[in-house]
Symmetry: C2
Subunit: 420 residues, 2 copies
């Protein structure tokens, strides 16, 4: 059996070329090829060529747009059993590799995937098991430690100067990442209509960029909460360097530990870590701490409809994480009668942000490999590239939601002030 | 027993003045006064003075901010049994009257009302009975006929020149109603990014103002659906007069009867009539008729959380109507994976619109009385004033929701173009 026969055979009959008459029986190709075909079919027959360790190849179409290699038999079986989880695991371990551009490959594969709603009930239930685990205070700390305490030096290698690890706001698509992150901080502050001397609470403050920006540029006083000790150490150092310790207090604490009364509540990129089961608690916290005239803003990754997290992202990147649909976010706002004033979807801005992050990451990949190892580099490449394509194909959204108390009429007459 | 004694007694003990020592026993005041006190207590003890037909008065506070009179005993009992429904019924019939400004009175009363969530389970269930009735095609026609076929001449007396019977968009609070309605039509068209020669479908087109505006100002072709025969006759006449019959087709049909493929779907002030149970059907209609690059906009009265309609409004003004919460609107968008791009809450613009409508209505009230009768005038006054205060106190919202297909990346980079 020569390699050419196998390659032609493995194209599905719908797309078979004339030379498919040379094809040999599936049985002769072995169990692996048949199983791989089943997997590809379940994945919507993406236009990719899959090569196996021994040179056999499978391709559901006549002209593949991308290619990948599986380097050992055990890797194939792992992939068959848990494709969502194992693709990332095997890619990170170098047991599966992608030919050409990873982003292009993932875009081709993701676009072919059948809609989640059409997958089997059993598959769906399995995917949703993680939702049973509550994010207790202790587990929330573990989860955040997992991702954000990798080391500030790592993030400094490829984030913008301000160290903002959330979707930027590109006033034009060609803006730099540095400009776009500052524009995002400003966009958030303008939406909150911050006034000098007001008191603001920030839930989940990262490395402190927004808290310091609000204090420096808008003259407000900020209490910024975070449970990542590495991020807090960095943020406190910045406040010191900038002479802003009188205006900004960085507090080690979960959003549930927020106390005090504030003119504004802001949270950028934290809701993803809260978990659906805790939205009512977050709503109660906001209700408790927001003054009658107060404004709130939640900036979060979201979905067009409820879907489980990708299994690999949940395991390796964001344990306990969940991006909600707008409908699911009602659990934050409705019980306390908050009024949603403005929702903006910045999905393509996150795709653009991730393009920048991925390009910067590739520039320092060798350094990262020295700091950690090759598996770490591949895992991060896969995470950044996969996130990029998921925003680009419209499977993830980025919502900025502005809200206030239902009976507060001191609200902007139009949104024109945001664009002056 | 002199009148002064009664008035003082009826003030609650918390607010009693020194002269309350002159008070007589509750029993001596009669059953009516005791029942009225119970009713006022259930209504959150609003700071109003209620006078009865025989001169007796009840007031839960020492300094009332507004006053009303109940003119007969049967009216009081009706009010006690079904206050939500009967206030409007009795006011319209002139069996109950309000002293001073109706808007001020309603604002004072509505602000005191306890939160719906805190009412008894029995009361809540009773209020929600209407939700069991589906808006079939036949019932939808009846419901719409009830309100919109009163007569075009009536609406022409007090609406703006364009005959727009939905929330206007006041670029400044002092803009005229005429300017604000045109600004609303433009705001909607800009949000939809209409391009010349595009095809647009409008679900629920009123007297045709938006359809004609889109055709005239943006050069698009429009199919506009409506089930109000009076409105359609008027709209068709306008299209003829303006020479726009080649561009705008007014079709007698329910949203469920929409057919064809369109570049944009728009619906302004129709969702309120659709009913929760039918949102998935509306979503299916949009999914069926929207081209891959198509944009959609739904402009609707809404709520901060699910609540039943006011019983009187449901009976007399909008049978089958229901203003949804944003969370409830997911039933339109999620099943077809539509992506919500932008939500704007224009609540105070509706309060302002209603101020204009009420003032214009009062100017022609005598004419309206001649066309119909005094009860009709009072019913409309109560409906317009009640709606005004409900928006003003934050119990009703006005959402404009822009959406598109999840995988369409041809979306505006920012919202700045709306404000150029």
């Amino acid at each position: 059996m020569n390699r050419n026969d196998i390659e032609l055979f493995s194209c599905s009959s719908e797309h078979a070329t004339e030379s498919s008459s040379q094809a040999v029986s599936a049985q002769a190709l072995g169990l692996e090829v048949r199983l791989l075909r089943t997997l590809l079919k379940a994945a919507g027959n993406p236009p990719i060529l899959v090569g196996l360790w021994d040179g056999r190849q499978v391709c559901p179409v006549s002209t593949p747009l991308a290619g990948m290699q599986i380097h050992d038999r055990a890797a194939l079986f792992k992939l068959l059993l848990q494709p969502d989880l194992q693709f990332g695991e095997l890619y990170s371990a170098g047991r599966l590799s992608v030919e050409g551009d990873l982003v292009d490959f993932l875009e081709v594969v993701q676009q072919a995937l059948p809609d989640f709603a059409k997958r089997s009930a059993w598959m769906k239930r399995l995917s949703q098991l993680y939702m049973l685990r509550p994010n207790t205070l202790a587990r929330a700390r573990e989860n955040i430690h997992h991702h954000y305490d990798i080391g500030n030096a790592f993030y400094q290698l490829w984030l913008d100067e301000q160290m903002v690890y959330t979707c930027a706001y590109f006033q034009t698509p060609t803006a730099t990442l540095e400009a776009a992150q500052i524009a995002k901080l400003d966009h958030v502050c303008r939406k909150l209509q911050l006034q000098p001397d007001e008191e603001v609470v920030e839930a989940g403050c990262g490395w402190g960029a927004l808290a310091l920006h609000m204090a420096r540029q808008f003259g407000v006083r900020v209490k910024a909460y975070n449970i990542s000790t590495e991020q807090l150490a960095f943020a406190r150092q910045r406040a010191q360097t900038e002479g802003l310790t009188g205006q900004v207090e960085f507090i080690e604490g979960d959003y549930r530990e927020i106390s005090g009364d504030f003119d504004a509540f802001v949270s950028v990129g934290m809701l993803e870590h809260v978990g659906l089961k805790h939205y009512h608690e977050l709503g109660q916290v906001i209700d408790r701490c927001l003054r009658p005239h107060g404004r709130g803003l939640i900036h979060t990754i979201g979905r067009n409809r409820p879907l489980p997290m990708n299994a690999w992202i949940e395991k390796r990147i964001f344990p306990g994480g969940y991006p909600p649909s707008l409908g699911e976010m009602k659990a934050i706002f409705e019980p306390s009668r908050f009024s949603v004033l403005d929702v903006e979807n910045l999905r393509l801005h996150y795709a653009k942000t991730l393009e920048h992050w991925l390009a910067r990451f590739e520039q320092v990949a060798d350094q990262v490999k020295q700091m950690y190892d090759a598996d770490f580099v591949r895992a991060w490449r896969f995470y950044l590239a996969g996130s990029l394509t998921t925003f680009r194909i419209g499977e993830l959204q980025l919502f900025q939601v502005v809200f206030n108390r239902f009976n507060n009429n001191d609200i902007p007459w139009t949104r024109e002030f945001l664009y002056r």
